[in-house]
Structure formats: structure tokens, C-alpha cells
Symmetry: C3
């Protein structure tokens, strides 16, 4: 066996494992988002991550991967749709000549999980009030939008790549872009019932399970070791052996600094060391280091992370202050911090590292710090205009044609019972009027009772098993 | 260092990581099963996965691995029991001459986690009513049964392998076989109290925590990237570099299609987009693609997954309609879909891929589509007869000799407090008569109070800490 | 490409993946510890793992890694602080000449996650009553203490390494040491309110969520496949290809035996098969096999695991009997079992395996079984004196100067609402007097209400959303 063949096998091993770690981030988002929202929507919120990853996987296989990484022009890939087995098993050949270190199948796997993460971010800001079918329809639209900008920035033939834009693992492509669509969705949906008072002041809607949110964050941190280091797409980068280990180090340092930045700025600004703000700090730091992780020195990773922790806290408050209801803080954590990370790469990138990567991934031109900042800004602007306007347009059309928000009684009863015909926690039966377990909103939860489920037949009635179970009013 | 040595080291790296991913599927089953059953049994259901994986690990080390993969005859392995350090460190030598790409230790690790998954499936259908000691006893029996059929199908000397049966990663060996034992258990145990009414109609017994079930499913999807792709046992397969990446792709496409197949057929058939049915769809698709993942084209993976999603929904309803109480749907999801996957491999396998694998894993004969379907059916029949009858026989004997089902008052109070002397959620104290937290069934939960725990001394009494905590009856 | 370069790349791949698995153990500790403590502290307990891993990551980057693995003398590393990019990208050169198989960055990543695990253990025994700032301050102190003893035992220039001490992956360095600090903390904090009655007899304080504890344990088991096998730091060890697979096998066998040892001894001693004791058995076995995993035969791994399972049960009871309140059993599981594992390595180590490792990791002298036992005991004594006294000293000074334990009303209300200004489960509103959800301890949970949060402004008042939600007293 030739060592060059063995190298390809080793690269594939690394990229597939990294992809698997990133895929697991769906569990991270599921638990982060379910934890930071209410009990009555928990099954819906957690379950939608399974649904949307399924949708993305199929759409990206059919056309997205070809749009993003198929051979094509500066704007779009025009080959590689519904890829054949042969295309998926070859290395560095049409229709995916971009990938010279791994076979097409591993490349699909690595790229599709990124698309899945970007789509997961979208729903954070739309949580607890969107209709179920919107997940299907906008899931398809967004996967296409995402694939186009991926081509611009990541494919060596893309126009932003040609300008020298640096986005190592997707602060712009994945996070900022997801947040732009999330913002469009939050604006078109409007805030949840009760989020803002008549005076416009925000009311607290605390998430129902902080341990879930912690687990979600730790799963995301874990998965990010695939996200950033895996983006080397190889175990040898330029002349550096195991360069992905260095990328893992900058990633970890930024996340650690983000935890401290988040909890300390929450302590200073809010006068309490809020746990959810610490988690936001970690995630914002991971988002920011995503663009920079392969290009910067360790100290810069710490700075990027610390600043991100502050951005998370200030950003969440700012978005809320604007009257936008973003239940899990996607706009601040993924959007603002994604912008910060993309610009910080321009500020802090080390020429020697960028040059090394250029050899490894085939063509990146490092163009110096001041100029680079400008290039990064151009990229942010272009993606900002394209992704926000196209996402807003899609959702606006859907809203006008069919409506994208559930009715008030559905939102009040919760999406679990209203949209899916089941409670997320059928036994956590706590008689809070109008809230979880209120008998006037309890439906039967079983498919054997065809008259009582589905959002069209929402007729509140008491679950028979529960009838004797309530404490009598005194 | 020779490249052939480095290749073995890289193979071992891949197989060990894959094994670790599969091991983590125990957490997936723990949370899937705990989520789909009731609060009063949550600690028992989750904890039993730790117990059974412990049992399997030891039994498989002692004798199972030798039976399955030791050198022997067409029916059983006769060498390699209680393996020595030397045997575990050598590659391609007696007593495990079957494994030519990795050392014996890595092979043990990869194979034992498969045995653990198969055993985990068994308990799904037996949940909420089996005695604790049955887990010990039948865990040993099933590990032996499983090891024998593994030898038939996976070992190059096995008789079904010789016929050309294709079961890439175990739709038959792991899933169908687990479901057969599950069915035997469900029949011998009978349904849970209250599952079927006097008219025979099934009553809903909803699982207590849907986010747990979602997390469990996503962990299983994650772990399946070890299950199927790891079954290449090498980073180079035939002349294909990183072929496991292709196996990961077909696996992911099938799972994605299964999610859609499950939720859409639930929407159509049950008139609600049930979250648990979507999860069943994912799992059924992963089960089905398990046999086929290394042999089929991407489009075939999508078809296999979509059909599996429908099978999950229809199958669960059908089993319930037959009066069989299978709390987590193991018979449909792992059994029926396992049969579908095994037959679909016969229908859709691509000769070129099968030939490639033949070189890689040492001898598989691909014999063409129509004939292949027949071979697959023979394998299903042989395993069906052997595993169902031997499992039924073991459990029947245990039932006659000592009883395998807990007493009614134990089942009503819940296995946590009755079998283990503790609540799963001691603070979720909700005064539902006869249900979770009912003071007449609350026991003390501590080992310092020797008079009050253990199933033999089940004397319902009020936990002292709780005495003042209940709302007074009006 | 040279095969020696490819080998380094493959080593790095393995070590980075192993590090990522170990990093995920923070999620395991978060859920194990949150599950074994009370609802009112759940967000605090889970969240602190994010905080402390952040602190360790930064301190270890700044100075810890240099102290532990920088070039230096027999007592301490004196180079490699605030490492440069160049130092992190080179292999086997100053300041980290110890690492000859991987670059510095991968080494940092692998070692920092071990420091994080050791620190996580510390807080187990201090749970539910320490002030938040202590996590920051003692987190820094302990990381420094830990780094010093790491140098003694693991660095080839360290004085205990020179004596021939064998601690493959850290039964002593990581677990025993964490438990020593945990013991110091538990002694200085004193028991939780209500833990011991006036007669000195222990009262039960059951953990609030056993499925969390099960998930935590399975995550830890999963992560341990990075912890022990990753400690080969290479894919080829001496003349053994993929030796880490053998290490994974001994690790798994011990854990499996520990599950059985734990549940069976609980059944025998406590007269109930306690689930949490089974989990303790698994963890104690993993702790014990950590020192031995690279050195012993499979049968010895089973023996080590079984004995550990018994130690876990007896040890937890013994610690409690001494009047020490260790909420998750850290002293027994990590301390006593860490001692057992370190000594068992002396008893059971196989010369051939140790010699093989000596070649692989550069210098370990295997000195024979009776002598080895003595060496192991010397190591335990030295670490015991140093770590316990320095940890006790740090915490004692903090206690005298500022106090390390929260006030009684804070402890009673719970750390979530008192220290962080939020509930962990805001909707699990169960009116248990003085307990979770008692309106007299419910605070508002939002940052928009500046008068009501932060531990300094703890003024119990009813959450407005809750006011109508309580059942009226009869």
C-alpha cells in the first residue's frame, strides 16, 4: 500500500469521526432549546431537531451538496446532484473536484451536518409559536440558501473565496447565516403571548429545565471538536502533522474564556451569575472562534472568547430591548458573535498559519490584516443581504399564503398537545390554571382515540385516566 | 515502520472508535426506554442497561466471543474462550484467525458492544413487569444464543455465511434476533396491568418523558455511525479508500428518510404527527439499513428508510392489535424492520459493492439478486426458528420454575420502589392516587432503614420527610 | 510522505479523539452529580461543571501544562508557560520534549481534560453547600496542585516516575488526588443541614433524578474509553500495533465487573439492589482499572473491578458512618478505589506488558511485583500528604478569611435561586413546605427585575406568575 493511499484513508477516518461529532450537536440543540423553553412545548422543541436533520439530509443529498461543493462557477455549483456511488467513492475528481483529501461520501457527510447545525439555529428564535409544517417548508428553502453561500465562501471557485475571505469552519456560513434567518422568522412571527407587557417591557419566560440546557451546551462543546478541527479535512495540513490538534486547542481556549466572560459579565451587568448566561457565553465563544480557529494564536483565542461572553449577555438584552422575542438567544449568540468572530479573524489571523492552511486546503490567499478586515466585512455584508432577504421573502410569502403562526389557543395549550396530540411529560401533572396539566387543555394522548387528536380537532377535554387524579379544590 | 503495520494500527483506531460509539448506544436505549415508559419505573428501566451491558461483557469475554468468532466449524466456534493476553494482541492468528485486519482485543470490543445492543432490544418489550433476577439469568442465556447465530452469519466458516447471506452490520444478527427474544418475553409475561380493557381494546400508557426519548434516539443515530460503518473492520476495503464513509452516508440517508416516513405516515394514519412515531421511524430505518448499508446505492437507502418509517407505524399498531404489549415497540421497530432490511438487501444490493467488500472482509460471495433474496429468507427462517424457540424455551422454564413477572402490587407501586427500594424521582411528589407519589406506596429510600426496603419487605408506609408535604384533602 | 510522519499524524488523531471523549466526561459528572443531589440545586450543580472546566482550561494553558509536562527538574516543570504556536506545533522538542509521539497542542488537549476530571471530582463531596466564588478560587489552586503531582508521576523526569511508579492513566494522579481535595472540602464545610440527626445517625437525602445519574454514569463509561486507552499517546506501543484496543478491553471488563460487584454487594449488605450503588460500582471499577489498564491480564481486570464494586458500597457507608457528608460518594469511589487500583497494579502487573509500554512511552522501569507494591505505596503516601495538606490549607485559609459555606437560609432555599437568581426547574412547582417551590422561597427569575436577584438581595417573595397557581390550604 502506498503512503498516499494510507493518508487518504486516515483523512477519511478523521473527517468521518468529526462529522459524527457534529451530527451529535443536534442532540445538543435539542436539549439546549428544550431546556430554555417551556414544559408544554418540550416534545415539540426536542423532536423538531430530528425532523429538520432528516429534511436537510435528504435535500442536501439531492441538490444542496452539488450547489455548495459541486464543480460550477463563482456563484453556484452546477454538478453533483443526486450523486452516484462512483462519484461518492472517488477522490478529487468531477463532480466534486474540490475535495482532494477525502472521497465524496465523507465530504457529503461532513458538509451535511454543518447544514443541519445552521438550520437548527434558525428555529431557536422561532420557538414555541411556529406551525409544524413551516419546519418542513422552510427547512427546504433554507437548505438551498445555505448551500449557495457555502459555495461563495468555502468552494475554491466561489467569489468570496477568491477575494480571500477567511471563515475556517463557518462563523459566517453556519452561524451568522442561521441567525439571519432566525431574525427574519422572529420578526414575522412576532413575540410569544405574554412576552412583552402593555408598556413594552419584557416579561420573564424562564426555560423549564436548566440541567437540560447544561447538557445541551456540553454536547455542543463536545461536538465543536468535530466542527472546527474537522474542517482541516485532513490529518496533515501543509507541512504540519496533526494540525487539527492545534485547532482543537484554540477552540477549547475560546470556549473556556467565553464561560468566564459570560458569567462574569452577567454578574456585573445583571448583578447575578446567571447560569444560562454562562452557557450563552460558551456558545457565543465557540461561534466566534469558528472562523478564526485555524488562523490565530492561543492568546487571541482567549481574547475572542472573553469578548464573545460579553457579547452574549449584552446582545441578548439588546435584542429583547428591541422588542424581538428570541427564546434561546440565537440572534445574539450565533449572529452577533458570528459577526465578531468573522471580523476578529481579520484582526488576529497569523500569516504563517494562514499560509500553512493555504497549502493544505488548496488556494486560500492571505492578504494581510487591514485589507483582510475589509474582505471579511464584504463577506458579512453580502451574506447578510442575500440570506436575510431571501429568508424573509420565503417566510413572508408563507405567512401571507397560509400563515406561519399557530392560533392563540394552540400556543396557550402548548404545541405538544396541540400540534402532536401528546404531552411531553404526561405524568408531570401539575394543576396550574392555563398552564401545564390544566384539565381544560388536557387531551387524550393516544392514537387509539381518533376523535381527539390533531390540531384540527382540538377539543379540550379531560383525559380519562386523569379524571380522579386531581386534588379537589378546597 | 511498514505501511502494512501502520494500516493495522489505523484499522484498530477506526474499529475501537466505532466500538465506543456503539457502546454509547446503551445510553440511547436507556433514555429511549425510560422516556417511553412510566415515572415509577424510570430508575429501573434506565439502570438495567448498565446491568445488562455488564453481564454481556463478562459472558461474552468468557465464552461468547469464542463461540461467535473463535475458530471452529460451520455451527459454532470452539476456540478462544477466556482469551489470553497473547491471543488478544495478535492479528489474524488462532484462535481468532477470522480477524485479519485488527488485533483480537479490538475485535472483542467491537463485537461485545453489538451483543449488548441486541440484549438491550430484548428488554424493551418486557419493560415494566419483569423481575430483576430475570435480567441476570436471561442476559446470560441470550448472550449465548446470540453468539451462536453470529457465528452462522458473520464468521467466514459459518453455514449461512457460506450460503452467501448478506447482513452487513446485523439487521438479522442484532435486531431481528433481539426482537425475537423480546416477542417471546412479551408473550410469556403478558400485558401490563391496564394495557388492555375488557373489550380487548388497547389503553394508552404514554411514556413519561418525550425529551428523554428524543435524546435516546439521537444518541442511537449517533452510535449507529459506529455500528454500520465500523463493520468494515478496516479503513481500506478492497480497493476503496475510506469505504466506511460511504457506509455512513447510506446509513444517514436511510435514517433521514425514516424520520419523514414515520411522521408522515403517523400524520396520515393516526391523523396526528406523533413525535414518538417519528422516532420509531428513525430507528426502524436504521435497523433496516444495517444489513444493506455496505451494499446499496444512495437512492436505495432512501427507499429502504422511507418504507421502514411506514413499517414502524403500521407495525406498532398491528402488534398492539394482536393483544401483545410491547411498551417501546421493539417487535415492530427491530423485528419487522430487521426482516425488511434483510430482504431489501437481497433486492437492492449492487454487485460491484458486494464484490468490493468480498475482497475486504475475506470471502463473501455475491450471488445475484433473485437468488440472493432466497438466501436472505433462508437466513431469516433459520434464525427465527432457532432464536425464538430457544429464547421462549429458556423464559418458559424460568417462568415455570420461579416466575418471571412481578406481583401486581409491585407492578402498581412501580419497580423503582419495589425492586430497588428507591424512587427514581424522589422529589417529583405528585399526589396522584395509586400513581407516582401516592403516600400509600411511598417507601423510605435509604439503606439506613433496614426494615423498609427490598422487595421481600414491601410494606407501604409514608416516607417521614413527606408526611407534612402533601396538600391536605379538602 | 514518510511513514514516520504519517504515524505522528495517526497518533495525533487518536489522542485528540481520546481527549474529546474525556472532555465529554464533564457532561457525565454534571448529570451524575445533579441526579444524586436535590432539585433545588440542580442548575448550580450541573452548571458548575461548565464553569470549572473553563477555569481549568485557562489556568492549565497559562501555567499548569508547563508545570506538569514542561522540561524541568524532578519536582516541577519550569518551561512551557503560555505556550507559543511554535511550541504547540512541534513534536518532541523543548519546552515539551517529553511528548515524542504527538505535537504539543494535542498533548495540551489530552492533559487538560484530565485536569478537568480531577477537579470535577473535588466538588462531588462539597456539593449543595459551597459558595460560588470558592469554585473560582479553589479551581485555580487545585489545578496548580494537580499539575505538580502530575509531573512527579507522569513526566519521565519526575521523581516518582524515576522510582518506577505505575499509574497508567491516573488512579492516583486524577482520582485519588481529586478525592483527597474533596475530603478536605467536606471536612471544612461540614455536613448539609439535616444530613445527620441529633443522635449522629445519617438521614437519607436521596438524589432527585436517577435517570440523570444513569446517563451520567454511561457518559463516564463512554468517556473512559478515551481516558485509559488514550493514555498510550500513540497507535503503536512498543512492538504492539493498536495496543490501546487492549487497554479498552481491560477497562470494559473492569467496569462490567464493577456493576455486578456493586449491585450484588448492595443486595447482600443493604438487602436491596440499589441502582445508585450499582452506578458507584461501575465508577469505582473504572477508577481502579485506570492505573492498571495497560499492565494487567483480562482476568485481573475482572478481579479489580469486582473488588471495586464492593469497595464502593462499603466505602460509601463507612464515610457516612464517620460523620462525613459526601453527597455523591467521591471519597469512596475515587479515593478508596483509586488507592485500590494503584496497589492492585503493583500486585497484578504483567512484566511483559509493562516492558512493552516502557518502550512505547520512553523509560518506565518495571521492577517486579513485591518491590512494585512498595513503590506504589510510596507514591500514594507522597501524593496523599502533599495534596491533602495543600488542599486543606488553601480551603482553610479561604474559610478563615471569607467563609466558604453559604448561609443556612441560602442552603435551605437552594443554590439555584439564592446564588444564581433562578430556579433549575421553574415549572416543576410543587408546594412542599420549605422545599422546592415553597412560595416563601420563590424569587423572580429574570434579569429585568433588578431589585430581586443576586444573593445579596435575597428577599423571599412570591413569583407573580405563581400567585394564583397554588392549591389553597384547606
Amino acid at each position: 500500500m502506498k503512503t498516499s493511499d494510507l493518508l487518504i484513508a486516515a483523512n477519511t477516518l478523521w473527517v468521518v469521526i468529526a462529522a459524527v461529532l457534529v451530527m451529535f450537536m443536534q442532540a445538543g440543540f435539542a436539549f439546549l432549546e428544550a431546556g430554555l423553553t417551556r414544559m408544554k412545548n418540550a416534545a415539540h422543541i426536542a423532536g423538531k431537531n430530528v425532523l429538520i436533520f432528516g429534511i436537510t439530509s435528504l435535500v442536501y443529498w439531492a441538490v444542496g451538496f452539488g450547489i455548495a461543493f459541486g464543480d460550477g462557477n463563482a456563484v453556484i455549483g452546477t454538478h453533483g446532484f443526486f450523486p452516484s456511488t462512483d462519484a461518492l467513492l472517488s477522490v478529487g475528481k468531477a463532480p466534486y473536484s474540490f475535495f482532494s483529501t477525502i472521497p465524496g461520501a465523507a465530504a457529503y457527510l461532513f458538509e451535511v451536518v454543518f447544514a443541519g447545525v445552521s438550520l437548527a439555529i434558525v428555529w431557536g428564535a422561532m420557538a414555541e409559536r411556529a406551525k409544524l409544517w413551516v419546519y418542513f417548508a422552510f427547512g427546504v428553502c433554507f437548505t438551498l440558501i445555505y448551500s449557495i453561500t457555502s459555495h461563495w465562501i468555502w468552494h475554491s471557485g466561489g467569489w468570496l473565496f477568491g477575494l480571500g475571505m477567511q471563515d475556517f469552519a463557518g462563523s459566517t456560513v453556519v452561524h451568522y447565516q442561521g441567525a439571519l434567518a432566525a431574525l427574519a422568522g422572529a420578526l414575522l412571527l412576532g413575540p410569544r403571548i405574554g412576552k412583552f407587557g402593555k408598556d413594552g417591557r419584557a416579561n420573564p419566560i424562564p426555560g423549564h429545565n436548566m440541567p437540560y440546557a447544561v447538557l445541551g451546551t456540553l454536547i455542543l462543546w463536545f461536538g465543536w471538536f468535530g466542527f472546527n478541527p474537522g474542517s482541516t479535512l485532513a490529518v496533515v495540513t501543509g507541512d504540519k502533522l496533526g494540525y487539527f490538534g492545534y485547532v482543537a486547542l484554540t477552540t477549547n481556549l475560546a470556549a473556556a474564556a467565553g464561560a468566564l466572560g459570560g458569567i462574569l459579565s452577567a454578574w456585573a451587568i445583571l448583578r447575578k451569575p446567571d447560569v444560562s448566561m454562562m452557557l450563552n457565553g460558551v456558545l457565543a465563544a465557540l461561534v466566534a472562534i469558528t472562523a478564526a480557529s485555524g488562523f490565530v494564536a492561543p492568546w487571541a483565542a482567549v481574547v475572542i472568547g472573553l469578548v464573545s461572553g460579553v457579547i452574549a449577555v449584552v446582545g441578548v438584552l439588546w435584542v429583547e430591548g428591541l422588542g424581538i422575542d428570541d427564546p434561546i438567544g440565537a440572534v445574539a449568540v450565533h449572529g452577533m458573535s458570528g459577526v465578531w468572530g468573522t471580523l476578529a479573524t481579520g484582526l488576529f489571523a497569523v500569516p504563517a498559519l494562514a499560509a500553512n492552511l493555504a497549502t493544505g486546503t488548496g488556494g486560500l490567499v492571505y492578504t494581510g490584516s487591514f485589507h483582510q478586515l475589509g474582505v471579511q466585512a464584504v463577506g458579512l455584508l453580502a451574506v447578510g443581504v442575500f440570506t436575510f432577504s431571501s429568508s424573509f421573502g420565503c417566510l413572508w410569502a408563507m405567512k401571507r399564503l397560509w400563515g406561519i403562526r399557530v392560533e392563540a389557543h394552540v400556543e396557550t395549550a402548548g404545541l405538544d398537545v396541540s400540534e402532536h396530540g401528546m404531552w411531553g411529560y404526561p405524568e408531570f401533572y401539575i394543576p396550574v390554571p392555563g398552564g401545564y396539566g390544566d384539565p381544560s387543555t388536557v387531551l387524550t394522548t393516544h392514537w387509539n382515540d381518533p376523535g381527539a387528536h390533531g390540531s384540527k380537532s382540538l377539543e379540550p377535554r379531560v383525559h380519562p385516566d386523569r379524571l380522579d387524579a386531581e386534588p379537589e379544590p378546597a
